[in-house]
Symmetry: C2
Subunit: 229 residues, 2 copies
Amino acid sequence: MQYLIIKNAIAEQIENGMLEPGHKLPSERVLADAFSTTRITLREALNYLALSGKVYKEERRGWFVSQEALIFNPAQELDILKVCKKYNRSYKTELIDSKRILAPKMVADTLNLPPFSYVVMYSRLIIIEGRKVAVQYQYLPEALFPSLATMDNDIDVISLLKEQYLLHCPSLRVKVGVFPATEGESAVLNISSGSMLMDIHQSAINNNKKGYLLQVIRCCHDVIEIEIK
Amino acid sequence: MQYLIIKNAIAEQIENGMLEPGHKLPSERVLADAFSTTRITLREALNYLALSGKVYKEERRGWFVSQEALIFNPAQELDILKVCKKYNRSYKTELIDSKRILAPKMVADTLNLPPFSYVVMYSRLIIIEGRKVAVQYQYLPEALFPSLATMDNDIDVISLLKEQYLLHCPSLRVKVGVFPATEGESAVLNISSGSMLMDIHQSAINNNKKGYLLQVIRCCHDVIEIEIK
DNA sequence: GAGTGGTCTAGACCACTGT
DNA sequence: CAGTGGTCTAGACCACTCC
């Protein structure tokens, strides 16, 4: 199988440090020529390489060498940017949207909200080392955070929680899966529609079974490794 | 984009119950004809559909409709077959291999073993509803289970642990990721080389920091959803 | 042995990116 | 505007599965 040979050849170049994290690979046509094959076969090799987390693709921009994965413990940590800091990675977030909505079923179920509850939702784009790597959604029940309903601006949800609630919360409930990107996520992350994202749900529930935060992180799978201790 | 239209059309058939879990889809050539396209484009649609966990492929056998995912809590449960029982799914395991080996670095690190420790390793194939869905590896330090070294046969590791150790273990340490199948795994699972598998590491460490089990489950990603409470 | 999926060729056109 | 990736066509041959 030619595509496996090509995949391994490129993987070796990366492991030997010939291609540094973040760098762009030569264009598909150049690589196809170099391996005396067609673009279809070459793309097959790159797609498999991407599954292994060694390279990633940005829509219409090309293929890039992945950084080493960040190890993240979603049962104890809400703030993924803190992990970036630990790894000395540059990072940035951008507010995509914030709004007050009727709690969707998934949110209401997770946070044990009564019917017709409103939640405030923030969605943010997470950018690490200049790469758009994840979308983060935070849902806060309006009943517990009445002041939020009147705020349009970005706020630091995690600090807010720490002040008000987090001390009473022994640990987070976590759900992890792998699901394809929605249209919207593909657009903001610059990835092809339907690519696979790692899906991390973290919910903070107090001892009275009241949920005060659901955070959903949808992240390119080569970026994060999950470890729960 | 034609392939997205095809993907959605097939997804709709599944959601409407026209295609039942476990059933085989028509052949690629038939489907390509039905959508007036080429096999390449049709395969692209199916590949994306597979990412979303709605269908899966068996090597050279065809495409099948996925079952609903099992929800599994790896922080509290070692035995995935118990979960099958809960969901009323038929299941079976087959011993692939059992041997005594020098602990690989990953195992020694996880279980805090001294250099040159031996471990006993069992690998098993997990079959649910007739489908080969996962490979399970169990590593037990020989020092803690001296009787195992002389045994060739299959044993129920989980029962053994429960008897000897598990009562002292408050919870398991878990690591989750997404990694491609190795050659060997592809072969036993009947999936294409390099397809994506969900990777679940569970380690049982006692209060003296002695590790007495590392279990690694490598599972088709449409089969399991992970939930940690 | 017929049919299937796995792999590959050799092109093509379009929309978009980067300069 | 040149070059890139995204998508698609219309074939082909092989190895394997299933009957």
